[in-house]
């Protein structure tokens, strides 16, 4: 059945070496991926919890966060403030009141679910955060930190060439010396037919192609940063950010149903019967991602057409059946989960008390909404590993006696979603 292939001893050795290295390489690749699960990831936590109001360097809704921990009276005070700033203010804490006054009495959202460890991770992340350096500065080289990478590459390449030349020279000299001394030379094999080189490059190509292929396959169907053009230029920033409309006012299903629900046009009309023009063009001009300027008032007119509203007469237009003459409003769906995934908004929003921004990002700062999170399974799982359930506030969880006892005994501070079966297949796939 199989042909017996005789492999030269040296090749075998080389192969074995390569194999070992391949495994090592794969191992490293795996490690570099999984290391994200080990400790609380400050970046992820920052982006999902804080980024909607804070920037590390610039003042946004809230102050810039870099080195803000240094301004805290104490570390403990910092934890308290982040867990529930309003409680501190209400308790009459001097520093807290001062900050509250300073920022026009805008309350900071409470984050009771963040553990001290996680807060530390966030603070470390913002402290170490560096402004992304733009490409231009790199070319002009005016920055203090010069990039020597290319230089190293050139030096390495030059050294390699020298090594190659020296090796060749050495080889020729040896051959010449051998000829002189009458020792028979080993037949020269051209480089491209050298078995060791073929083997090494084949394995390298295989690994690289495999890595590229697997990564490509894994990302297949994912749409992070997807930002399609919508039938109406509806700015979430204008509504949820500037005008502070609660998310749940329009997406009323989020607390009741698996779908958060796109509001029906009659919900829009609750406000837009009165508001028929966009007047904030000075302060907040509407511009698409492509740079096209948008006339907000015209967009409201579009809504009237879909809703069947006559803005002149301030009345709904009726068709011959006596029904309101509405038109189908086909929004482009941005957040798409595969059909075999069951996701329930109410479980997360109502039961888990997860902020909308945790998954959808700073929607209140988006004129045009884009997909903030990758919505991949790894991303879901990661959150289930890190997030604690509302264990103490919900009587449903009384059935987990063991955990309650452990909490009482001080053995644990809380219970993660994963610990009550949050990683099991049939929690999301059925």
């Amino acid at each position: 059945m199989f042909k017996l292939i005789i492999v030269p001893e040296s090749l075998k050795l080389l192969f074995r070496l390569c194999c070992r290295n391949t495994f090592a390489l794969i191992f490293i690749l795996l490690l570099s991926d999984s290391s994200a699960f080990a400790a609380p990831d400050g970046k992820t936590l920052f982006q999902s919890n804080c980024a909607s109001c804070h920037n590390p360097l610039k003042a946004a809704t809230g102050p810039a966060l870099q080195n803000i921990d240094k301004s805290f009276p104490s570390k403990e005070w910092g934890y308290k403030w982040i867990h529930n700033s309003q409680a501190l203010v209400a308790a009459g804490d001097k520093d807290a009141v001062a900050i509250f006054e300073k920022y026009n009495k805008i309350a900071m959202t409470a984050f009771p679910q963040l553990s001290n460890e996680e807060i530390d991770a966030i603070l470390t992340y913002v402290d170490e955060f560096k402004a992304p350096v733009e490409a231009k500065t790199e070319v002009s080289g005016t920055g203090k930190e010069e990039d020597y990478t290319s230089l190293y590459v050139y030096i390495t390449l030059a050294l390699l060439v020298i090594v190659l030349i020296l090796w060749k020279v050495n080889q020729s000299l040896t051959r010449a010396a051998n000829e002189k001394e009458g020792i028979q030379n080993i037949k020269q094999i051209p480089l491209r037919r050298h078995k060791a080189i073929i083997a090494v490059s084949a394995i390298l190509i295989f690994i690289m192609a495999g890595y590229w292929f697997v990564n490509g396959a894994v990302n297949e169907g994912r749409q992070q940063n997807y930002q399609p053009l919508q039938p109406i230029y509806y700015s979430h920033q204008v509504h949820a950010g500037i005008n502070q409309v609660n998310c749940l006012y329009c997406h009323a299903g989020a607390e009741k149903s698996r779908q958060a629900m796109i509001p029906s046009t009659n919900v829009c009309m609750n406000c837009h019967k009165q508001i028929n023009a966009y007047t904030d063009n000075e302060k907040h001009p509407l511009i698409t991602a492509e740079g096209v300027k948008i006339d907000g008032t015209k967009e409201i007119q579009k809504l009237y057409q879909y809703a069947g509203w006559d803005p002149e007469k301030k009345k709904y237009i009726l068709n011959d059946k006596g029904e309101i003459a509405t038109k189908r409003l086909e929004w482009v769906k941005i957040h798409n989960l595969p059909d075999h995934v069951y996701f329930n908004h109410s479980q997360h929003v109502k039961v888990g008390k997860v902020q909308c921004q945790r998954c959808h990002g700073p929607v209140q700062e988006m004129d045009e909404v884009y997909q903030f999170a990758p919505l991949s399974m790894g991303w879901c799982i990661n959150c289930h590993r890190q997030t604690e359930v509302q264990f103490k506030n919900n009587n449903y969880y009384t059935i987990f006696e063991k955990y309650h006892n452990e909490i009482k005994a001080g053995k644990r501070s809380g219970v993660k979603v994963a610990e009550i079966g949050g990683l099991e297949c049939q929690k999301c796939h059925y």
């Binding site: 299903g253 409003l329 449903y396 006696e401 796939h429």
Partner: protein, 1053 residues
Amino acid sequence: MSQKQYWQSLEELNYTEADKQLAENEFKEELPFDLSDNILGATTPRRDFLKFLGFSTLAATVVAGCEIPVRKAIPYAIKPEDIVPGVPNYYASTFIDGNDYCPIIIKTRDGRPIKVEGNENSHITFGGTSARVQASVLNLYDKARNRFPSQDGKEATFKDIDTNILAGLAGKVGYLVTSSIYSPTTLDLIEQFCRKNTNIKHVVYDAISYSGMLQANEACYGKKALPTYHFDKAKTIVSIGADFLGTWVSPVEFAKAYAKGRRVSAKDLRLSRHYQIESTLTTTGASADERATCRPSEVAMVVMALYHAVVNGVATALPSEKLKKLVSKAAKDLSNDGLVVCGSNDVYVQIVVNAINDKIGANRNTINWNVTCNTHKGIDKDMVELVKEVQDGKVGVLMFHGVNPVYTYFDGKKLGDALAKVPVTVSFADRMDETAQKCKFVIPDNNYLESWGDAEPKNGFFSLMQPGIAPLFKTRAFQDSLLIWAGESIKYADYWTKYWLNKFGGNQERFDLALQKGIIEPENGFTPAGYVDFKGDVLTALDKLKAMQPEKGTEIVVYQKIGIGNGGAWSNNPWLLEMPDPITRATWDNYLCVSPARGKELNAELTGFTEVNTKRPIVSVTTKNGHTEKMPVLVVPGMHNDVVAVAVGFGRDAKVGRAAASDATKGGKNAYPFIKLSETNFDYSNIVTIQKTTETYDLAITQTHNSYEHRPIVHEYSLKEFSGDTKILLKQRGVDIAEFASLPFVEKGKEGKEEKEERIIGENTEEKYRENGTLYDKYENEGLKWGMSIDLNTCTGCGACVVGCMAENNISVVGKEHVSLAHEMHWIRIDRYFSGNPEDADSIQTLFQPMLCQHCDNAPCENVCPVSATNHSSEGLNQMAYNRCIGTKYCANNCPYKVRHFNWMDFNGADCFEGNLFEDGRRDDINDDLTRMVLNPDVTVRSRGVMEKCSFCVQRLQEAKLDAKKEGTPLADGKAKTACQMACPSDAILFGNVNDKTSKIYNLRKKEQMERTFYVLEHIHTLPNINYLAKIRNTDEIAAHDEVKDIFYTDHI
């Protein structure tokens, strides 16, 4: 290891070659693999494999390069206030189909009905349902439904049709033919209509007639109605040919009540005793304690003998010894809260049955004449006379509602031909059935899920019907037509509201509450049965009975299948067509049932044509008046030797629907023409001659698709055995598992004394066995742990759970061809086991065992999955992740219960391209946009190449948990119910959290029914989360004998 001998098929009993092969083969069909050495010359050589591999990799790469489609999300323009997308709404309503009645709850998702459950408020059905009720939601989305009104086969407007009909109404005598109507408003409207059009009379015609009983009751009690039977109060039940758990009168109601008397336990050993005398094997006969067979023409003799045995203590002559024994025994028992029911349609037989019931005092207790039943009203004589008049050309107008006499009338062909003589013919049929095709006008009625309505199934017991969806097509309520033709301008919906609002004295709040509850019934249910005077003339009746001589030769019995019923729209319901018949386990067809001995004569014996082989011989069946039909033969143990049986509801016209259409390969034959008219009543048996032919026909039978290789699966005891030693099962189980409950190295007590005690299951044996019977560590289940219990004593095999599961879990219909290849997808099946001597019909005992994924805690399937697509949850569920499954089928092979099903095809068309629809009618065409509306949006639609199995309705468990979390309360017992549990009319299935010590399931297992609890194949340490309760028969003898015939041990070890 010794065990009682049960057999699924005659092949298994005789251990034939075919059966051996079945046990050995991994797959039922030939696989396209060549296992010879000549690999390159094989059907699929290695090079081909590499080509396929290369192609699929390339194809995957190309497809991966495609753009992701842009998906649209379209919100409501004006959102209805009571609909939250993604949250189901429930509406109480009523299922009505001719004589069948069931109060229901409609589950709608985003405005479309997707599931029907029983209404637990009802004192009649207590939330029970039948397979047909469960399947009715699929009829709503039937593609064969009439989509518009038509005149002479062409689409017409309601306005034109009304004008034309109104013009033709006056003049000659006319008839409105309906099935039994028990809706108070509809009856009112019919009366109004007939008052306005005085030449039109209302005639009630039921496809399956009970006029013998109605007439007998009129003669005996002065009431032309059926009484209410209280099977729960009966301690002795004698049924003579009445399949009251399957098809007779009101099976859901009876199954619920009957089950109450069957729930025996070690603490309460009371068990009703059920005698069954019948010609064929019915589900009721299968549940019976004592059973004997007779010819249909001998029923009169049996009834007479029973009367004499009850009155005089001595039974008159009877055809067989067993019957004699049974009748005299039954007669003695009957004085103890007895109840006699009889399926005969003969007036005199029923008068004598009434007399027996009167003598044994049933009218005081088990038969309630205070609350009579309105669901059956048809008198055969009326219909026979009507057909005669039509044939004579005397009729000017004929309207058909809810009936299809051209198909169901025994002389339907003649009626169909005569319809041409009637100037105005109207059908309200939902599809172009056999009668509608011959009618001038077809005005399709709404489906019941689109209708307003009401029902009064029993006097004083009302139930309301409200729509779950607006009419899908251009259809109109039958009542609206009546109103228009009676010259009224009001719509039926308004008329109905007014009528019921009036009943509540105009109190809107009370009316709304009643509508929400769905039923309006006396608060305490049934008033006790008061004694009614028996005024029947028994002596004349007995004389008539004496004159009825048993026939000679072969008799055919025309029966209803539990799924298809009398036909109607059910004939085109793929869920019901694929639901295996409880007794024959056959799908998609009707056939001639014969006894094993008769089968041998007809070449249908074991060798050659087997249950493993799908080919059956065809025989030609001819009645005395020359009606001939060719039908395949199916051997059914327990059939009387001189009786053959055939089911109605098959042999339909192509226009009834593609699934129903009868052709050369499927669909069966119409059995109604075998019915004969004896005097004025239909007789559902007839004399036939049977001739062999050389042809064969494929039947798709599911029972032998899985082999347990003779391992012990069921436990059954007689009441005597069980009451003599209630620990009998615990001891039996002790033999199997107790020795593994303690570690081998643990010190034994004094001189093995402890070991002896260990031989019986004690309180902790199960726990110890769980821990010590394996090398794995013990897994602690925190929080929830789901468990199910199935009572073999109350399971009647009706199949409601099977269809309920299909509706809930989007289970594919695979079609007849694939069923014969063992590709059926049912997550729950009801295994049927026989015991006894197949040559002696009276000795056959039948047992049903619902079999579904046992959610083993030490699951053999989980260990062998190479990709861990199936694994265990912390709640004790055996999970199946479809998108992880790569289709190796190792799990199915390693499952000892054979409950895993592989998607060999893309049965649902889940990822089909546009326009790429199945058009063969063999499946449910679920990839059609209309039919797809029935799918449950919370359950993934599986595609080709993945394994699937029962999930314990995990979507319902998750929903129940989420509801509890939102309320912030612990999950209450009974909040999470599986679909099969809710569908079951006899409450045989119980489900709950076994970690909760207050739950019903925990108490059932550990306290109430500990003595009857067993786990299937417990000794292989799979640790199932489903337990069964052993069957206890109230009989002297269990037909299954202890036998050392364990092929598992002899062949494999």
